[in-house]
Amino acid sequence: MDIKREDIIHLAELSNFSLPEKEIKSLQTDLQGIIRYISQLDELKVDDVEPTYQVFEMENVWREDEILPQEADREALLALTKEEKDNQIKVPKVL
């Protein structure tokens, strides 16, 4: 399939990127090449094949629902942010 300029803009929106014009152009070329390559799976007949999403051989690993001591407390986590106020993370206006 052909990747159009609008497709790149849509994918950038889904990915939360604000792309400058020259990046849109180069991504259009790059993504077109990648999608052409991965489209070779079209050759495969896999209608009757079950999909595999993971290769871990155990299922339903349960644990007790209990509060355990953690390495990082609230203070340590808040210290990682750019700005905090009253034990909360400060961000620019939302609306």
């Binding site: 497709d7 790149i8 994918l11 950038a12 889904l14 990915s15 939360n16 990127f17 604000s18 792309l19 400058p20 990046e23 180069s26 991504l27 790059d30 993504l31 090449g33 990648i34 999608i35 052409r36 390559y37 991965i38 489209s39 070779q40 799976l41 079209d42 050759e43 495969l44 896999v46 094949v49 079950e50 999909p51 595999t52 999403y53 993971q54 290769v55 871990f56 051989e57 155990m58 690993v61 644990r63 390495e71 990082a72 340590a76 986590l77 210290a79 990682l80 942010t81 750019k82 993370i89 961000v91 620019p92 206006k93 939302v94 609306l95």
Partner: protein, 457 residues
Amino acid sequence: MKVANKKVTAERLVRDALEKAKHFEDYHIFTFINEEGALKKAREIDQKIARGEKVGRLAGVPYALKDNFLSTEGETTASAHILQGFNSPVTATSVAKLEAEGAIMIGRTNLDAFAHGSSTENSYFGPTLNSHDKQRVAGGSSGGSAVAVALDIVEFATGTDTGGSVRQPASFNGIYGLKPTYGTISRYGVVAMASSTDCIGFFTKTPEDMDLLMSVASGQDSKDMTTLPDYYNDSVYKKGPAKVGIIKDFDNDSVHPEIRKALKNKVELLKSKGHEIIELEMPALKYGLAAYYILVPAELCSNLSRHDGIRYGFRSEKSKDLDALYENTRNEGFMPENKRRIMIGNFVLSSGFYDAYFLKAAKARTLIVQEYARAFSKVDYILTPVSPNPAFKLGEKVDDPVAMYLEDVMSVSLNLAGVPGLAIPAGETKEGLSLGLQLVGPRRSDKALIEFSKELI
């Protein structure tokens, strides 16, 4: 590996490693040097030894940590701008296990940002140079770790392997690199790429060192629900004649002639030692790369959605509102290759394309799993190249994503199937570039791979 004792102090071992790191500065291996922290730990170990107290199996052994492992020593950046300034309050389980045995981290190593790449050129900090030829790439994504071991700066280094990121740089630098069975070593505290294929692995100079590290790091972790109960330390290796498969589909003109020759030489060596060589046909493997570059971007675009500039790392300051903050931070913080992969991930998961790409790739993955199972009903091990070419020139492929992806064509299928692979040194080209092969086994055969690799020396 050299472990500290009464005669050789940990401080001496650490000082030597720090000096060598400085000497090889121009290779651009490290993103952080842990001089103060490492020397402090070394002195503590030396005091223990002087007092006659018990020390760990890795006492005073200097090592290098790929910069996508979280620890409280140095910023964890994954060589990405968006994580700059991130001082982790938590430590990866694998790091904690190594350090509990006395290993000392002397530096964090360079990688392709978020481990996206096969050359370490996608690092925000610039590329690491190959240990055998400074005009060439180190391989990737764990390029810094591989070169740190190859130049003998440290005894071992950690890596992550999602599609070849340990094995390929190991083979580009002439050392051992193991991608264990999926779930063998805890992924807790390691920056996630693709959760269903990510594996923690190591770089070493000998199989014996690899065995020791696996023995330390393997085992179940309550913080990673996809860890297997420790099977490694219970594994029993039976010495004796083995059946070794070679893959016909990988022996053609697309593979560099000197790599084909290296494989042939090792096959002859195995025959001379009484092992049986069996030719395998594994036609599904050729779809591995396409399936990989659908499934892995799908998983990583989800894993990387957490990087929003709010809670840690870099935040773009020029944003008026919250949406702009997300977009500017991500646009400025990710490298071009990160953006390609995130967007491909969102493409293959989009409604309308999900069935044609993601679902089809997940079905192709089933064929690959089955193909390996069939192969291992006939042979004990498979011996293949790690990559089609030895280390390529810096800048040669970095602007051509598909050409770069094709370097992974022989390594990714192991990750899709969850089986282990050990990269082993296999000589050098006429120009002096290192050559590597990989020994592949069924799930949980990690110990046997390491032991059997001694037959290939």
